[in-house]
């Protein structure tokens, strides 16, 4: 392969001339292979991990006109308020004082229960992240909508009353 045959030109040399020892031209390639594979490993790891995915979010147009607002049936609505410290406050219908507390692990069950007991056309989930909720909380809940195949949901700010209620609960529960 890589060796070259060096032919001594003169055929037989004189009696006093020493024969030059032929040195092998082979190079040990093992370290080079090692290095090659090390770099390959490095590039594989850096390329595949950075693939970002995107989640589609469509927001409704703000409207001042009351008649254009979507009407939500009280029997079909579930409001999820996202509070401080990864806590969700939820209530059915339109009475915030009846709110209950849950976490992100159990919210799926609540949504699925509601979905089972409500006609599909009436079901509407209202997501209200408050001032202390994180972006992760909002994405998690939106993701939950995709996971549970909920088609009608909206993300709005909580009303001052609701925010007051959340704060009261948080103070009572000692959430910091």
């Amino acid at each position: 392969m890589a060796e070259m045959e060096v032919k001594s030109s003169g055929g037989k040399k004189g009696p006093g001339v020493k024969k030059g020892k032929k040195l092998s031209t082979r190079v040990d390639l093992t370290p080079m292979v090692d290095l090659g594979f090390l770099l390959i490993t490095f590039f594989i790891f850096t390329t595949t991990v950075t693939q970002a995915t995107a989640m589609k979010l469509n927001m409704p147009k703000d409207t001042k006109d009351k008649n254009q607002e979507n009407k939500v049936k009280e029997s079909g609505s579930l409001t999820l308020m996202l509070g401080k410290g990864n806590v969700i406050y939820y209530y059915y219908g339109s009475d915030p004082t009846k709110m209950q507390t849950t976490g992100y692990k159990d919210v799926r069950k609540i949504i699925l229960d509601k979905k089972k007991n409500t006609p599909a056309d009436d079901l509407f989930i209202i997501i209200k992240p408050d001032k202390d909720a994180t972006y992760k909380n909002a994405v998690d809940v939106l993701d939950e909508m995709t996971i549970n195949d909920i088609n009608r949901y909206a993300m709005v700010d909580p009303t001052p009353d609701e925010y007051g209620l959340i704060q009261k609960t948080e103070q009572a529960g000692g959430v910091k």
Binding site: A52, P60, L112
Partner: protein, 214 residues
């Protein structure tokens, strides 16, 4: 009696072929790698079950870090036009050199009045400077002006509006970004997330299973 000599075979293996393969693969991976553009700050995105890839063409990315600062990224196709549009709108005095610097910056993270100094900072020094971020308050909403400039400049193209926020970004900061987009009548966004598996037993999981068997 003389013992029969066993000829010892050489244990050397020819590494040339293996070396060839290794470097061929290495070349492939280097060429296939798309290097990450300079990130404004480190942002850990939340996970979602969404499996669509983030659009990378004509992308206008708003990033929000964990300190609720807002940064802006644009792809090169629209960047120059946006700058021209903005200069015209704000009546800024710029030189062609300014534009060259602007094209070279990876992201924007300062208000308009500091923009021309900001783009002259070499990118390796940006890490050491505490950047103020782009203001998006109701009194001084510069983010909204950037979006308007991008919309005017990208007329006829389909701009992709991406929002990239950190796990620990407070929701109001994200809300401000949404409000700035809404002001410009943009209601469709892509939230950048990392992939996550669909939990088994959920409606989406079963839908996916059905789709696979079809």
């Amino acid at each position: 009696m003389a013992r029969a000599k066993i000829k010892r075979g050489s244990t050397h293996v020819d590494m040339t072929a293996m070396c060839d393969v290794a470097f061929l693969l290495l070349t492939f991976f280097i060429l296939a790698a798309n290097f990450k553009p300079t990130e404004a700050v480190e942002i850990t995105t939340p996970t979602s079950v969404s499996n669509t890839h983030a659009p990378m063409k004509d992308a206008f990315t708003v990033s929000v870090d964990k300190d609720n600062r807002i940064f802006l990224n644009m792809t090169d196709e629209i960047k120059g036009d946006v700058f021209d549009e903005l200069v015209q709108e704000k009546n800024m005095k710029v030189t062609p050199e300014d534009k060259k610097y602007f094209m070279a910056t990876g992201f924007i993270g300062v208000p308009f009045n500091q923009l021309l100094q900001f783009i002259r900072i070499p990118s390796d020094q940006l890490k050491n400077i505490k950047l103020p971020g782009i203001p998006a308050d109701s009194t001084n909403n510069e983010l909204s002006e950037w979006i308007r400039a991008a919309k005017t400049a990208g007329m006829g193209k389909k701009l992709n509006f991406l929002i990239k926020a950190d796990d620990n970004t407070k929701y109001p900061a994200f809300g401000k970004v949404i409000d700035a987009f809404k002001k410009n009548d943009e209601y469709k966004y892509n939230l950048i997330t990392s992939a996550e598996d669909v939990p088994p037993g959920t409606p989406l999981y079963e839908d996916n299973l059905k789709a696979q068997h079809k």
